[in-house]
Amino acid sequence: MIKLNNVSFAYEKNKMILRNIHLAIEAGTCTVLVGPNGGGKTTIGKLMAGILKPSVGDVMVNELDTRTAELAEIGKKIGYLFQDPQRQLFAPTVREEIAFVMELQGVPSDQIDIRVERYLDKFQLKALENSFPFQLSRGEKQRLAIAAIMVNNPVFYILDEPTTGLDYERKKVLSAVIERLREEGIGMVIISHDQAFVKRHAQRVITVSGGELLDDTSN
């Protein structure tokens, strides 16, 4: 599904953040990236989603080369959750946030309503449907961002710190959603420091530190 071939990356010239990364992520598996802050986990996630282009090597998403593919093309396959969910919320209400991409894609309004209702219920956002997303708590923003991604039905997810700001009950809801996605054969890469969450979901754990892959273990 996603392949990183000899990838190196630098934000500034000659200051490599990642060096010679070879990595293949299979569709339908749950891979977790762990490691210390600043080790390069988020950078790997952004390279996989095509947000960043590799300085050396190439990143392939199915047959798409992220260097040349349009972000929208990759976005139809991959759902990406930013570390800061506020960066991916735009609409004036919670309901519109979930609906607006479907509106742009010309999905009939009755179908939009059904899907929006489903995700409002799933992520316990129904009571907030007319709220301004920017005034939600961190955990509510996180749930909304995840719902807004999932409503597009991508075939692969990259979730950067999905449990940040979620309480015990909401983590359980997210866990259940991830389990269901796995049962449906949908793959994902999760970047997380939450040990319990990693233990529960990871089929493969990759440790990233100092811009290198230190360990790669399959459960």
Partner: protein, 247 residues
Amino acid sequence: MILATDLDPRAKLFFVLVISSLAVFLQNTFLLLLVFIVCLGAVAATGGSLGNMLKKFRKFFGIFIAVVLLQSIFTQQGQAILQLGDITLLTDFGLIRGMQTILRFLIIIASALVMTTSNSREIIQGLVQWKIPFEIAFMVSIAIRFLPLLREEATDMLTAIQLRGVNLKKIPLLKRIKMYSYLLLPLISSVMVKAQELSVAMEMRAFRAYPQRTSLRVLQLGRADYLVMVLCTLFFLTVMVLYLMLI
């Protein structure tokens, strides 16, 4: 060679003030061109990268073309160069006005680039030593500091929209306008939230608790700074005399 990083921020501010005042005041294309060339020379002489500057100018290319066309369409004086039926699209006078506007843009952007070689703390200190109230100097520095952050946020939001499968180039104009209106809302909201959080953080750290402020670092004008300011004054006077002679 005098490096821009070695100059006192007040010398740089003086340079920006002189050059941008000339850009706004002059109505003569050749003199504006002269100011632009001198400005480029000054940036290069103080260690600035002309390559980087050209890259920045390239981003404004579309705006420049639009400015020339708008000036030509709405300024109906002079000889018509391009006509569509009875409608004059381009006149020589409009073309000159458009070029002058572009030169003004370029001069102001190029001169302001000199300021980017100072950090915001130095700029505040320079303004304070010019007897500008600290609160105002601080506001200026916050504005300078937050602009790149805003740009980064806007870029991230555009990326996030595209990652939801929206191809910005392919959606119809009306929907695209609606989508951009979506971007404005979080940006404005984010600015308000940041301003609020910053003001609370400043109050918590006793901002303005004492009427008298002291500074660990006090700026001293050196020979090079005086030389820059004298040269700027001479240049300003020369250009103004030339301009008044040409009117």
